[in-house]
């Protein structure tokens, strides 16, 4: 946390130039050489495939019928965008994203406050909170799966009566949200806790002196100071939630219209082997994510993390 605190305004006068004055040129060359491997790998493994998938998306390309491989312009887009399964999956994904991020935000804030302020067992709480963050999503998903399976599960037996929650749409979505929230709330809480550390104690004390109650101090003092951290946390979690895959795969495998857009793309590839349609979905998801990120950055003014670091030092 301290990193975040000290860094923001700290443009210390010492311009950290390399100790020996090898000259600007050598420094530039070294910088480029050091960054080249990272840049090359990142661009080669994401940039090229995404361009390639745009190219594929304009073709009829089904591995089961290689003879019909041809260029068909935007027919794949028409096919996907007029398909009700796609829109159901899109709606489901949006619903899961909005609901789970909203719940995570509230719980994450509570957990952040607990981790930041608790008087007893601070180390213990932080350790325990990291377990959901670190645990393999598939493992956690299996835990919830068996918990909600009739006969096997403590939750199914206790709460679901004779029903099988994972065989109906809405109960399934509820379980998926529960699994998502459990897994990712600690991450949200950690990001928010870093924001909490930025709130000056003096400010809170002054507000308390002026008669602000706890809720007023929270909404009028803490939230405004934490706003950048909140927006970054929401941005990252929203984008992450939008690509939900693991939990749905294990919990319902997309049955009863619980499929997400990621599930659709995967199924299309593995079961359909239809590269044209699969790539079209890839491109559509990419565009959707870009729109979400754009909205966050332009409309809410989220400072992209790292955007204003670098430069000076």
């Amino acid at each position: 946390m301290s990193h975040a605190v000290t860094e923001a305004p700290a443009e210390t006068p010492k311009k950290a130039k390399p100790a020996l004055s090898e000259g600007k040129k050598a420094e530039r060359r070294l910088g480029l050489w050091l960054c080249a491997p990272a840049a090359i790998v990142m661009i080669a493994v994401t940039g090229y495939p995404i361009l390639y998938s745009i190219w594929l998306s304009l073709q009829r390309y089904d591995l089961r019928f290689p003879a019909q491989h041809e260029f068909i312009w935007f027919s794949n887009y028409a096919a996907v965008l007029s398909n009700s399964y796609w829109w159901t999956a899109f709606g489901t994904t949006m619903f899961l994203t909005v609901v789970s991020v909203a719940i995570e935000f509230v719980l994450g804030m509570v957990l952040a406050l607990i981790m930041h302020r608790t008087l007893v067992g601070r180390g213990l709480i932080r350790t325990v909170a990291l377990i959901p963050y670190g645990i393999v999503t598939v493992v956690a998903a299996f835990s919830w799966y068996y918990a909600w399976t009739p006969k096997y599960g403590y939750l199914a037996n206790a709460l679901a009566g004779s029903g099988a929650p994972l065989t109906d749409r809405w109960p399934s979505l509820f379980v998926i949200i529960l699994a998502e929230v459990w897994k990712t709330t600690p991450f949200m809480a950690l990001l928010l806790m870093a924001g909490l550390a930025l709130v000056p104690e003096d400010l809170l004390k002054a507000a308390a002196m002026d008669g602000a109650n706890a809720w007023q101090r929270f909404t009028k003092v803490m939230i405004p100071v934490m706003k950048p951290a909140i927006l970054v946390a929401l941005l990252f979690r929203t984008l992450d939630a939008f690509r939900i895959f693991d939990n749905i795969f294990v919990l319902t495998n997309g049955a009863q219209d619980t499929s997400s857009v990621s599930m659709q793309t995967y199924n299309n590839l593995v079961k359909g082997l239809n590269l044209g349609i699969g790539s079209t979905m890839s491109v559509l998801i990419f565009i959707t994510v870009a729109i979400i990120a754009f909205v966050f950055i332009k409309v809410f003014g989220t400072a992209a993390p790292g955007s204003d670091t670098g430069g000076k030092r």
Binding site: A38, V41, I114, I131, G134, V139, W182, V232, S282, G306
Partner: protein, 280 residues
Amino acid sequence: MVMGGVATTGRKVRWGLVDILVLVFALVPVLWVVSLSFKTKDTLTDGSFIPVQWTWQNYADIFQTSEFVLALINSIGIAIISTVIAVVVGTMAAYAIARLDFPGKQFLVGISLLIAMFPQVSLVTPLFNIERSLSLFDTWPGLILPYITFALPLSIYTLSAFFREIPWELEKAAKMDGATPAQAFRKVIAPLAAPGVFTTAILVFIFCWNDFLFAISLTSTTASRTVPAALSFFTGSSQFEDPTGQVCAAAVVITIPIILFVLFFQRRIVAGLTSGAVKG
């Protein structure tokens, strides 16, 4: 401690209760998997949270199936190789970003940010086809490459945040005192940078260890299938058996390293996650 000053017993008790709530919330799902993994076949469906009869049989069983053992080797090998490469390459880039002035720095930071937000599923279809034509499909490198790519932004952010904290003047001072550049690096800078590098390695390892989407899309056999992917195909040592106990035992096995990391390096992980993410 922070506000309100006095830590009365009452407040402590209240915080204690809150803590217990968090503890239960975080641990119950984990303990449930552990419990299932120790249940005998007959008691698997009794629905009780604590096993009535305990057994190690499920663990013995999974370590006798090549499906699990090979997947475990794949998981460990792929995660370690990816971590080492991502941390080495990331360290170079992060050092340059934190310390040097060169054109294209903002570009690299921008690229990292884009990739951190990139929907991984968008790569699944094109990578599947590209890897097929390069014979990388269902191989270790076929998974290591995307893992490195998506671990790099994490690694670059976390490391450059750590590197900015290092008092680099010490390097200069050591050189003034007559140390060679190599000595200055080895004796002064490396020990200061090591904790940051180590923390980053843990975060990257957790990321690679966790991945499911690439693992299931870019593999087809035990040649490279990792445990999370293998779990979803796991049908037990014979097909008439209920695989639940074995799935849970396998799940517990791959949870152990995570638990160890969290127990021993909690402070570092928290520092790493928060510094990397809220930077700027």
